[in-house]
């Protein structure tokens, strides 16, 4: 078993399903007999604010939170959230960005501009950047809310964990009535990330 701890930093907007995603990834690590820690944000930040959940797994994990500059992967559900938390990424880390724009209040009110090409800027700076229209793919699979699982598919391909373990975790965590859509979305993400 690898001694190294893998750090996955999941960012998005409250309500986008970051919590469920961190639970799926953590479940995969549990199935693979790793030590796992997950840190979540509940409460006030969930009301449409910027949210973070963090998954760490390896032979032995101490801190439940990832150090700045130490995330192997940032999984971003929204473009500017990827940019906001980029300081947590390792210099040679990977960013997976859902090409999705959710306007924050200062943008909706016209007080600030949304930096619409920010994902391209990140890609220019970091060679290991993946940009994907996860929301569109999820929509084709039957439900836009499955965008998070499309991203899990990309992540699975990127870090080389066995897809069947991830499908097992999805089956364990996702409610039965949403399972088929989620499995389809995961497979699309996996194919896109391969």
């Amino acid at each position: 078993m690898q001694d190294k701890v893998t750090n996955i930093f999941i960012v998005g907007v409250g309500g986008q399903g970051t919590l469920l995603t961190s639970r799926i990834i953590a479940q995969v690590a549990v199935q693979m007999d790793f030590d796992v820690k997950v840190s979540e944000i509940h409460g006030m930040a969930q009301r449409g604010g910027s949210v973070v959940s963090q998954v760490r797994y390896g032979k032995k994990v101490y801190s439940p939170i990832i150090k700045k500059g130490d995330a192997d992967i940032i999984l971003a559900f929204e473009k500017i959230e990827a940019a906001r938390w980029l300081d947590y990424l390792k210099p040679d880390g990977m960013v997976i960005i859902n090409n999705e724009r959710v306007n924050p209040l200062p943008v909706m009110s016209g007080k600030e501009k949304y930096p619409d090409t920010i994902h391209e800027k990140i890609a220019g700076l970091l060679p290991k950047t993946v940009i994907i229209d996860a929301t569109a793919i999820a929509s084709q699979c039957g439900n836009v809310r499955a965008a998070n699982v499309v991203l899990v598919g990309i992540l699975t391909a990127a870090i080389g964990i066995p897809a069947e373990e991830v499908e097992k975790a999805i089956t364990a965590i996702v409610p039965a009535q949403a399972l088929q859509v989620n499995l389809a979305a995961f497979r699309e993400g996996l194919a896109a990330g391969a």
Binding site: V13, G14, R23, A26, Q27, V30, D35, V36, K37, V38, S39, E40, I41, H42, G43, M44, A45, Q46, R47, G48, G49, S50, V61, Y62, S63, P64, I65, K67, K68, G69, D70, I80, E81, A83, R84, L86, D87, L89, N103, P104, L105, P106, V107, M108, S109, G110, E112, K113, Y114, P115, I118, K121, I122, L125, L126
Partner: protein
């Protein structure tokens, strides 16, 4: 079998395995999931109490009657429960009682970052601090034993980072603990001066025994390693220390009150340099210093916020924080917001429009304080709004009261607003009080309360009649309005503010996130012919309306739930509705 559990679920499991049969709480982030999880076990009683004081009083009664009892609250909730706490610490227990205090360094969802280890010192109460979910489970079980062994309630002090982190847990078997016998024992449980005097002596005696216990308890452990630096730490900061300094010697304290003086002295003698790593107050540091031991502490760290591994590396080893990547781009902030369709938005729109002074309170509606609604002048603690408005009036006179309102949610009103309202009526105030009744405790995740008519286990119960209660207090002017009918709300507000008598306006509309909230039969859209880009609809701060900068038009987006508020604020009839 091992599985992932958040700290809060692990505490509930620990209490269950320890044979606890009663649990009480008032919801509050980051403590809410503890008693919520506990309520799902078979054969136990759990309740949402109206507030933390009642929760601890019910807990004390259950303990005196012989049951192992769990009481949970957030850090500021312990302030509400402080009165029974300081006397129940004298009476001691019959069945073990564990009080969980969930502190919030970093203020993720709180109004302050007080350090509740201080309560342990003042109340001569043992304080136990776990550092992950397994310890949360194990220490909770042990805390019940200690509570009975030393005849005292035990505080299990956790922080948000433990409460809401999932780590691996191996669960155990439930122990069958029979109820302890109940025998009348007035000199132990009736805190008259004569009895309390003797109980105080007993408390001091048992606290001395706890000091001895602290020296040998398995809750405290030394991890001897490289002796050039020794670190005393506890709770989640232990994990940051292990991460940052894997080679350092560590004295990990699980029992943080009372401290093991000899153990600490011996540890200090064995290391070249002694460091205390603790978030918030220098509780351990000051005691260690008082014993004449040299220690590196807060002068090197901070009294503020959460710690992290990289912070410790920077402060102790001079390793700078990573600078990150230079994107050369301003990233717009994303503050939390009231949801699209939230009934509170109508209230704060009207309050801002009328330029009223607003004494606020604690709940989702506290978000009405931030831009663009900016409709709140003060928010102190749970239930403070009504008393604050009364004080403003008594300082500045009834003319000031005619442009002042108190704003309080239904759950918060039941928690601790009622006595404030009694004061207004009793002492001749003329305040206008808005009770924002959304039929739930929304901010903490939709817990029931006495006004919803449903218990923690979703059983129907008596529904507190807030209107009848307000009338019984002596308020003659009581109005009920729909907060999303803003013209009506404004009219009612004007009428009630003009009265030289107390008034209560109940703004009644269920939280939009509650299941079963009715779906509208229409959609809202912007008529581009009529929209002149005045941004009135944007200033309500709704996530369902976007301003298109280039077109200078408002646009209804996918977040809209057709509440109709923007339709009402549009002066040009540009926002319209169509049937679905």
């Amino acid at each position: 079998m091992k599985k992932l559990m958040i700290g809060n679920a692990a505490i509930a499991r620990g209490a269950y395995e320890a044979g606890a049969t009663v649990a009480t709480a008032y919801p509050g982030t980051p403590s809410t999931e503890i008693v919520d999880s506990f309520s799902q076990y078979e054969g136990v009683y759990a309740e949402w109490s109206p507030n933390e004081k009642v929760a601890l009083e019910v807990g004390a009664g259950a303990s005196i009657a012989g049951a192992r009892t769990l009481v949970a609250m957030k850090h500021v909730g312990v302030n509400v429960a402080a009165d029974p706490l300081y006397s129940f610490s004298y009476t001691g227990v019959n069945g073990g009682l564990v009080l969980v205090s969930a502190d919030d360094p970093g203020l993720h969802s709180s109004q302050n970052e007080q350090d509740n280890r201080g309560y342990g010192r003042f109340a001569k109460m043992p304080v136990i601090e776990p550092s992950d979910s397994q310890e949360a489970l194990d220490y909770t079980k042990l805390a019940f034993d200690l509570s009975e062994q030393f005849d005292t309630m035990v505080m299990l002090r956790i922080t948000m980072r433990l409460a809401h982190s999932q780590t691996m847990v191996k669960t155990g078997q439930k122990r069958e603990i029979p109820l302890k016998d109940y025998k009348k024992n007035a000199s132990k449980y009736v805190m008259l001066p004569g009895f309390a005097k003797r109980r105080h002596a007993e408390v001091e005696k048992s606290f001395e025994q706890l000091r001895e216990y602290a020296e040998t308890t398995p809750l405290n452990r030394v991890e001897m390693n490289d002796t050039s630096m020794g670190i005393i730490t506890s709770g989640v900061p232990y994990q940051y220390v292990k991460e940052a300094f894997p080679d350092a010697s560590i004295l990990k304290l699980g029992l943080v009150n009372p401290l093991p003086k000899q153990l600490i002295k011996t540890f200090a003698d064995q290391v070249d340099k002694l460091v205390v790593v603790e978030e918030l107050e220098p509780v351990i540091e000051e005691q260690v210093r008082s014993w004449g031991i040299e220690v590196i502490g807060k002068e090197q760290f901070t009294l503020l916020g959460e710690y992290s591994s990289e912070f410790l590396l920077q402060q102790l080893s001079g390793i700078p924080m990573p600078q990150g990547f230079n994107l050369d781009q301003e990233i717009p902030a994303r503050p939390p917001l009231l949801c699209a369709g939230c009934p509170h938005r109508g209230v704060f729109h009207v309050l801002r429009k009328m330029r009223l002074v607003v004494a606020g309170d604690i709940g989702c509606y506290t978000l009405g304080a931030i831009a663009p609604l900016e409709g709140m002048d003060s928010c102190i603690c749970m239930g403070a709004s009504i008393g604050t408005a009364m004080g403003m009036e008594k300082a500045r006179g009834p003319e000031f009261a005619a442009k002042t309102v108190a704003v309080i949610g239904d759950s918060t009103f039941v928690h601790s607003g009622i006595t404030g309202l009694i004061d207004v009526v009793y002492n001749g105030g003329t305040s206008t009080i808005l009770i924002l009744d959304n039929d739930t405790t929304a901010m903490t995740g939709h817990q029931d309360h006495p006004g919803t008519g449903v218990t923690i286990t979703k059983q129907p119960t008596n529904k507190l009649d807030i209107e009848a209660l307000v009338r019984a207090i002596g308020v003659k002017n009581l109005r009920v309005v729909d907060p999303l009918q803003i013209n009506e709300l404004e009219k009612v507000l004007k009428e009630e503010l003009a009265r030289r008598e107390p008034s209560v306006i109940i703004c009644a509309r269920p939280c939009v996130l509650l299941p079963g909230t009715s779906k509208p039969d229409h959609k809202i859209y912007v008529d581009n012919e009529l929209c002149n880009g005045c941004k009135s609809c944007i200033r309500i701060g709704c996530t369902g309306v976007t301003f298109l900068e280039e077109e200078k038009k408002a646009q209804i987006n996918g977040g809209c739930i057709a509440c109709g508020l923007c339709e009402q604020v549009c002066k040009f009839d540009a926002i319209k509705r169509t049937e679905v």
